[in-house]
């Protein structure tokens, strides 16, 4: 088990380095090859050549590629000082780049917005797991019943309706129509109820979409597992049906769901762009959306890296959980 964990950790670290290199390559080299001058895009359209040259020097854009990557990489651990044309900007320790558009280091932006997205994703995940699994298992056990059909119709709706649609309706009904909730994000540090009230609608909206998917997957997996020989064996032992379901069928049903959860959570932590925009949540998704609009490459780069990191960590957790559930994985 420990060996397995170490192996997975090592693999994750290697993966992260590869990701940094690839992402960096895409964001800084591709524009170069495409003939777009990054420096002038930083300065603005009508910049004078001297200013552009200064920016170029400051960012090290004329350095060879490998040294650019190295500088970036080093910056993450030691911080980085941009200096060019007499202008010196310091970007301290975990330096994920510096946005010259907003004149600030990327890292504080990320740390500022990350908790919002994390809270949104984790809260929603909790909800959708709860409802998705329950609905899926019930549908499987009552296959063909009215409940099953009803649940699957709702699930189909959930899967097919986009977040901004359900979100808008939720906002319209609960926040503006009934005026139950204040659709305003309040940081957790300020007020728990305010924070909770602000997130409850995004949670439900997001969870609705995912719960629907999870319910369908759970139902299908459960039905398959119930047909397995070892379920028959469990019954042949004389186990009570609820125990058969809980102890034998559920554990097997969890494995594919866990795999999905790892991917989904990772992707969501990188920014639930649609949900965050709909509910005006100051999360990573919104940050990256703004950055795209303003072509603020360092921000996009920073968020992308955080997303990759989140996916990696989520997958690592899933892998470990997987090994806990399925002993066969430990040996592989």
């Amino acid at each position: 088990m420990l060996a397995y964990l170490i192996r997975r950790l090592f693999a994750a670290a290697v993966m992260l380095v590869v990701i940094i290199m690839v992402v960096f390559g895409i964001f800084f080299l591709v524009p170069k090859w495409a003939g777009v001058d990054i420096a002038s895009s930083f300065v603005g359209k009508q910049a004078d050549p001297a200013a552009v040259e200064a920016v170029r020097q400051k960012l090290g854009l004329s350095d060879p590629i490998y040294s650019q990557v190295w500088e970036f990489f080093k910056g993450i651990f030691t911080g980085r000082t941009y200096s060019g044309g007499g202008d010196v900007t310091h970007c301290s320790a975990p330096c994920f780049g510096y946005s010259f558009r907003s004149e600030q280091a990327i890292w504080p932006v990320l740390t500022d917005r990350f908790p919002v997205t994390l809270a949104l994703a984790l809260g929603a995940a909790l909800l959708w797991l709860l409802f998705g699994l329950a609905a899926g298992v019930l549908s499987a056990l009552k296959r063909g019943s009215l409940w099953d059909r009803g649940a699957m119709v709702v699930a189909l709706a959930g899967v097919s309706l986009p977040v901004y649609f359900t979100g808008m309706i939720a906002l319209a009904v609960f926040a503006f129509g009934l005026d139950w909730l204040d659709a305003q994000y309040v940081p957790l540090a300020d007020s728990f109820t305010g924070w909770f009230g602000g997130l409850i609608l995004p949670w439900i909206t997001l969870a609705f979409l995912y719960a629907a998917m999870y319910a369908r997957i759970t139902r299908a997996t459960m039905l398959e597992i119930l047909g397995e020989d070892y379920i028959r064996t469990a019954r042949a032992k004389g186990l009570r049906e609820p125990v058969v379901i809980r102890k034998h069928a559920m554990r097997s049903t969890l494995t594919p769901i866990l795999t999905m959860l790892g991917m989904d959570l990772g992707a969501l932590i990188g920014g639930a762009i649609l949900t965050e925009s709909t509910f005006n949540l100051p999360g990573l998704g919104q940050a990256v959306l703004n950055a795209i609009k303003t072509q603020d490459l360092p921000v996009i780069l920073g968020v992308t890296l955080i997303t990759s990191l989140a996916v990696l960590i989520a997958n690592l957790v899933v892998d470990v959980l997987y090994a806990v559930i399925d002993p066969r994985v430990r040996l592989a």
Partner: protein, 365 residues
């Protein structure tokens, strides 16, 4: 143990109409039908047999003959855990040690499962839960029916593993099924099914998934254990060799019905049904000098939705036209006694069959 069977008698007795039989296990006119989109699948359609303790009954038939469905029916596994609308339709009577199982309280039957009657399945890899250790699975089986702590149950598990010939049982008990070889898994499966000393053991194709040398080991084990525990055994297989090794009585199934039943020697040496002849003739045998040609049964097994009218075997029977008036295609033959404790369901007269067997079939085998 005694408490259970007592309460069992109380639940089972009054509900059934016909009197309790003297045999340990008696199945009367068992029918198991499954509704499907294409129609009613009559997997078992009127099956009757008895089995005494200490004896072994072999049920032989091809795929789809209803042999596995019968075993699951006795275990009550068609109704347990059936979800949704399409439930199996079961009728008839199954008497186990004085209790009628089909009319008994399902929870009572559940308590008998694994305790008074246990089952070994064909593929031990898929029949064991991949996520639990062998020990955990045996312990679970034991603790359902015995109020003991985990430690005691685990000691029992080790003891059982040792009994079925698993080396280093105290270590292997903590292994997962995938860490066992095929033969070892089947041994573990047998240990699990015998952990509660069941009086009825149903082995559904216990060796089909195994190699021949491992099969020999497992058959040997089943035989020894039966001697030791004195249980009644039903062995279900398509392999006549396997039943010849183990069975005292034989029941040949075709199209959901029994076509021939009797002591193993009778069925092998004086078979009285053309399908049994077909099975014997289709099989290459190691103990005889090479037969020039096998004598296959023409055609393929019947659909269980549209079972041929009359005798289900008639489209494949080379002697379908021997009885007069097309009777084989219109009237379903009932089991008739053809010798002591030997029944067969065929329209041909006893003499005709005896002549065909001795003159036409036996010499070619």
């Amino acid at each position: 143990m005694t408490e259970l069977s007592k309460s069992g008698a109380a639940v089972g007795e009054p509900t059934a109409a016909s009197p309790a039989p003297s045999a340990f296990l008696e199945v009367r006119d068992l029918k198991v039908h499954f509704p499907t989109d294409d129609g009613l699948v009559k997997s078992v359609d009127g099956l009757t047999f008895q089995l005494e303790k200490g004896k072994t009954l072999g049920i032989v038939g091809e795929s789809g003959s209803g042999k596995s469905v019968t075993s699951l029916g006795i275990m009550g596994l068609h109704t347990a855990g059936q979800y949704g609308k399409r439930k199996a339709q079961i009728s008839g009577e199954i008497w186990l040690d004085g209790t009628e199982l089909l009319s008994a309280d399902p929870d009572h039957v559940r308590k008998l499962r694994g305790r008074q009657m246990a089952m070994i399945f064909q593929d031990p890899l898929s029949a064991l839960h991949p996520y639990y250790t062998i020990g955990q699975q045996i312990v679970e089986a034991y603790r359902i029916h015995h109020d003991v702590d985990k430690k005691t149950a685990k000691r029992r598990a080790v003891e059982m593993l040792d009994r079925v010939g698993i080396p280093q049982p105290d270590k292997r008990v903590d292994n997962y099924p995938h860490e066992f070889s095929g033969g070892m898994r089947q041994r573990a499966m047998i240990a699990m099914s015998l952990v509660n000393n069941p009086e009825l053991l149903i082995a559904d194709e216990p060796t089909t998934a195994l190699d021949v040398t491992v099969q020999a080991q497992i058959l040997d084990l089943i035989r020894d254990l039966q001697k030791e525990f004195g249980s009644a055994v039903i062995i279900i297989t398509h392999d006549l060799g396997v039943v010849a090794e183990l069975a005292d009585d034989l029941l040949v199934m075709y199209g959901g019905r029994c076509v021939e039943r009797g002591p193993a020697e009778k069925v092998f040496y004086e078979p009285r049904h053309p399908y049994t002849w077909g099975l014997l003739g289709s099989m290459p045998r190691l103990d005889r000098d090479q037969q020039e040609r096998l004598i296959p049964v023409k055609g393929s097994p019947p659909s269980l939705i549209n079972v041929p009218s009359g005798c289900a075997f008639n489209p494949r029977c080379p002697y379908a036209d021997v009885p007069k008036d097309n009777v084989t295609r219109t009237v379903r033959p009932e089991l008739a006694e053809v010798g002591s404790k030997h029944w067969a369901a065929c329209h041909m007269s006893q003499e005709q069959r005896e002549r065909i067997w001795t003159e036409e079939i036996a010499p070619k085998l």
